[in-house]
Symmetry: C2
């Protein structure tokens, strides 16, 4: 990089939500000049950056104009105008992750084909252009239908169990995937810098909220055997190398009941499955992302202790000015870290924040986390 990260370098982040916000918290330590583009004038990052621009992430001109005087651009969301990023790259602006990777990952169909072409274990799938294709699908029921584009935070995903469900299936071009009867959802975050150093965070275990289809509970490190963990980490490293990505890549996987690991989805940015690294690991995913994109030595990913992460979702049935019931009670508990995302209004299942619970005693970390889940509620 021609300019020093702590000096004249101007970093743009596409998206000014909670991931951008936590990235800024870390970027403060490095003196980084941060520019944010987000369509929401009340985005969580709006008051925490050198320059905030309100505008569409999908619009070519907006993204291009935002980026043209910057040195380096990164993302906190994949749904951005990639044509603009490509043009910026051609003109010498560095884009990490690279535009070609964002383009690939934006399309869940291309993502799956990439896995297949690169011998990355993943579930059987079929690409379909319209709902009609489902009537003679090559996969047998039940299966998962995912929109190829623009699914986010559990949206754009349907489970098709019976012939009757096909009526309610998505119309748009989508992907159907064999239903995986998994034992556990796991994730590995990997980082790669431009000199080719690759480093993984220890594998984590996740539990999802079935109603919202969002990670609700995450524990790190995993207690699965070393062989499984190394296999998961090797898969993540292979994907990072195959992509030649610069930056973070979150790899979500299924551990099946017979011990297979299948890659579910990947995201080329800081990820919900890595929030516990802030308190739980020597380096956080946010610091690691900065180190990767600035081509600095990667940090020490080891766990300092057991960490549990809970997403703080807007309570079902409440909409309006957020009120955090029980917040004082949970702050009185040992090893509880509150991270609010600067969102004024709550709605059902909106990600309002997360809590990290650490404890050297794993059982205690889990029981404290369950207690926090019971006590702390986002109402209105």
């Amino acid at each position: 990089m021609a300019k020093d990260f702590y000096g004249e370098l101007q970093l743009g982040i596409l998206g000014g939500g909670q991931l951008g916000r936590m990235l800024i918290q870390e970027a403060i330590n490095y003196n980084v000049n941060v520019h944010i583009l987000d369509p929401d004038k009340n985005a969580p990052c709006r008051k925490l950056c050198n320059k905030f621009e309100c505008g569409s992430l999908s619009d070519f001109e907006t993204v291009y104009n935002f980026g043209k005087d910057l040195d380096l651009i990164t993302i906190e969301i994949e749904k951005v105008n990639v044509d603009a990023l490509e043009k910026l790259e051609e003109e010498g602006v560095i884009v990490y992750p690279q535009s070609r990777i964002i383009r690939l990952i934006q399309d869940k169909g291309l993502q799956k084909q990439f896995f297949k072409q690169n011998d990355i274990p993943t579930s059987a799938f079929q690409l379909i252009s319209t709902k009609d294709n489902l009537t003679n699908a090559s996969l047998s029921l039940p299966y998962i239908q995912k929109l190829r584009r623009d699914g986010y935070d559990g949206k754009g995903v349907k489970k098709i169990v019976t012939e009757a469900d096909i009526q309610d299936a998505f119309e748009e071009p989508s992907l159907i995937e064999e239903w995986v009867d998994f034992e556990k959802e796991i994730a590995v975050i990997v980082a790669r810098n431009d000199r080719g150093d690759v480093s993984t965070f220890p594998m984590v275990e996740m539990e999802f909220n079935p109603q919202a289809n969002l990670v609700e509970f995450l524990i790190a490190p995993s207690l699965y055997g070393v062989e499984i963990q190394q296999r998961a980490e090797a898969i993540a490293k292979k994907i990072a190398d195959d992509l030649q990505i610069v930056g973070l890549l979150a790899v979500e996987m299924f551990l099946t009941k017979n011990g297979d690991i299948l890659v579910n989805e990947i995201a080329p940015r800081p990820h919900n499955s890595g929030h516990q690294t802030i308190e739980g690991n020597y380096v956080s995913q946010f610091a690691q992302h900065l180190r990767a994109i600035f081509n600095l030595p990667l940090g020490d990913t080891r766990c300092r202790t057991t960490a549990v992460m809970i997403n703080l979702l807007g309570e079902d049935g409440y909409e309006g000015l957020a009120k955090y019931d029980g917040v004082e009670e949970v702050l009185a508990m040992e090893g509880v870290y509150l991270h609010l995302y600067g969102k004024k209004y709550t709605k059902p299942f909106r990600k309002m924040g997360h809590i990290c619970i650490i404890n050297d005693d794993r059982d205690k970390a889990i029981s404290n986390a369950r207690k926090v889940q019971e006590i702390l509620k986002v109402k209105a």
Copy 2:
């Protein structure tokens, strides 16, 4: 507090330097609306707050107008207009630490008298109005002369060793203190909230840069015996209780060669002797200050590991656009955390940032810190 800290509450911070900056990094987790007043239009906090106002901290009107629509005001520097804070308090704005405490601590003479009146162990002293008083001082040479007001970061302090030194002594009202032949400079940070909960961080040991008279090297926890640590912590708690302070109080002390502990100075705010708590302790001093002033339960102050803090001072002989020589090399080391303060220009001994080095092996933490000191230089 009538308003929720995460909601409509408006927090003002007098001073927008590195302490304010690290306080904001933590306040982001709590959704706090932060307003900053600082005389420097390029202050480290300027781009990280809801509202930045450039103005004098010493001017009554400026401080009063800054504060009159806020709910809560805190400080990151003592040199502020206390009359304005008093008026704001009368009008219902909460000021933590309370204005009467800031007034007391602004004057090193009053501070010393407070120690004496409250049986807090401190060195013998005398207050003088002009330099002439030194010719028949009650203390014998050598002694330390400190300006009663406005000393900061090692400025406003002189050692008077011989009669001849009196010629170069400060003219202004000052304090002379018996020279303490100490074994170690130690510090304890204590926090107190409005419900009267009091909690200390473990005692730390410090080494000063003799040229700049600034903390250069700090290690936590201390290896001195439990009796000494408990005595130091009890002194800090007593001062917090005597003052009935709300917020943090840093208590700097001398441990003398015969095992006495003498209080040197106190500061009612986050302090350089607590920076290592960010990575080294369960709760950081910045989080603890927020918990105290929001009247929340105080956090867990225990050390997670051994932590060494080094101030990153501008190298002597360099002035201009800061350049951090060796930064990449130190980031490749295990357990090294960089905190830059967002200052564009360096000058000799300017506090440009700090580094925290953690390691479960204390000797390794120290040797890594010494290595960082050798490698990392702030030049221009």
